[in-house]
Amino acid sequence: MFTILFWILSLLMLGSAVAVVLLRDPVSSAMCLVLSFLALAGLYITLDAFFIGIIQILVYAGAVMVLFLFIIMLLDLKAEVRRKFNLAALAGGSLVLGGFAILLTQVVKSLPSAAYPFPALAPGVPSDAVGVGTALFSGFNLPLQIIGVLLLVSTVGVVVLSRRTLR
C-alpha cells in the first residue's frame, strides 16, 4: 500500500513543483509550492518520519509560504501574468535539466550503496521525535545552543528594530 502512496505523493509533489515554474500567476505558483510541500510531508510520513513530516508542514507550508503569499499579494505582480514564455530559454533550460537528470542517474547507479534498500531508521527508538530530540541534545548540543542563541538574538533584534520605527 505504501508503494501506491509513494507514487501518488511523488507524482503530486513533482507535478505541483513543475506547475510552480510553469504557472504565470504568482499566487497560483505559491499555492502549488504549498501543495508540493504537503506531498513531500506525506512522503516523509509514509517513511515513518512523522516528526520531520509535520515540521515540514508547520514550518514551510504553515509559516514560510504564508509570508511568501503575504508579500506576493502586497506587491500585486500584474506584469508577471502577461509575460510570455521565451522559447529559446525554455529549450535551453530543458536541455540543462535533462543533462543533469542523466548525470544524476549515472552517479546514483554507480554508487554501491544504491543497489540495496536503506535500512529502517534506528529500529529501537520509540518515535522519531524522541530520536531527533536525543540526537540533538546529546550529540549536537553545542551547535543547537548556538543556533538557539542566534535565533533568539535575531528575534529580539527584529522586535527592537520595529519598536524604533514605530516611534
Partner: protein, 362 residues
Amino acid sequence: MPSFDLLFQPEIFLLWTSALKTAVILGIVLTMVAYSVWAERKVSAFIQDRVGPNRVGWAGLLQPLVDGVKLVLKENFVPSGVNKFFFSLAPALAFIPAVLVLAVLPFGSSLFEVPMVIANLDIGILWVFAVSSLGVYGIVLAGWSSNSKYPFLGGIRSSSQMISYEISLGLSVIPIFLITGTLNLGDIVKYQAEHGWMVFPVWTNGFDLSKLLLWIPMLISFVVFIIAMFAETNRLPFDLPEAEQELVGGYHTEYSSMRFALFFLGEYAAMIAGSGVIVTLFLGGWSLPFVPDGSQGWIWGLVNIATFFAKVAAVIFFFLWIRWTLPRFRFDQLMKLGWYVFFEVALANIFLTAVILLYFRS
C-alpha cells in the same frame, strides 16, 4: 461465524473502528457547530437583555436547521472580476483544517478496550499546530481572490495576525511537554488523570511543593494559550480580519449562500477544535476526579466521553461570553500585544518551568 472473525482481524478491526469513530465525531462536532451558532445568538441575547431566536421549535432549538435551509436556497453569487478557481477553493480551505484537528484529540479514555482517539499520533500537538496553521490559506485566498479592497485588507490582517500569534501559541505549551515529557495528547491526558489537571492540580495522590510551584507557570501558559487561541480563531476581541465597522465583512464580504456558510461554520468548527485542544492540554481532557477510566467498564467510558464534551461546551461558553463582553482591539494594539507581551511572557515561562523542574530533579 467466519464473517465476525474477519471483523476482529487486527488491521480490519483498526479500519472499521477508525471509520466509525470518525463518523461519530464528525456527527457530534457538526451538530455542536450548528448549536454553537444557536448558543451564540442565545448568549448574546441574554447578555444584551434580549430574547434571541425563539420562534422555530422549543426555545428556538430548530433555528440552525432553518438557517441552513435559508443559506442553501440563497443564490450563489459570484462577482465579476474574481479569480474563480481560488474564489471557490477558499471556503473549503477555511473549513477543512478545523475539522482535521479533531483527528488527534482524545475525546474519551476507551470504550470496549478501543482507545477513544481517531489517530493516536506520538506528535499529536504538532499535528494540531501544523494543520491549524494551514487554515490561514482559506482566509488569505478568499481576501485576495475577491478582487476587492475590504476583503483584501481582511486577508492581509488575518495572515499577519495568525503568524504573530502562532509563536506565542506554540511557545506557551512547551512547559507542558517539559513536565509531562511527551507530545502525545493521549499521554498528556493520562498524566493529568493521575497527577491532577494542569491548571487545577488540587485533587491528586500527594500534593507537594514542586506541584505547587509548577502551578504558577501552568497558569501563565493557560492564559497565554487561551488568548493566542482567541487570535488564531479570529474571535472577538481579536476579530480584526472581519471587523464589520471597518471592513464591511472582511474576507467573506463577497461571498454568499453556502460558500459564506462554509466560512461561518469553519470559524465555529475552529472554535470547537480549539476548545478541544484547550480542554485536552489544560483541563484534564476526559478525566474527572474520582471517576475511573473506560477500562473499568463501558459505562465509565461513556462518562469520560460525556465529560470531555461537557468541558468543551463550557469552554465554548467562555468564548461566547468574552465575545459579547469585551470590545475589539485596534490592529496595532493586537500586534504589539502579540510581539511585545505574549512572546516574551511565553519565553520567560519556559525558562521558569525548566528552572523549577531542574531544582526538584537534583
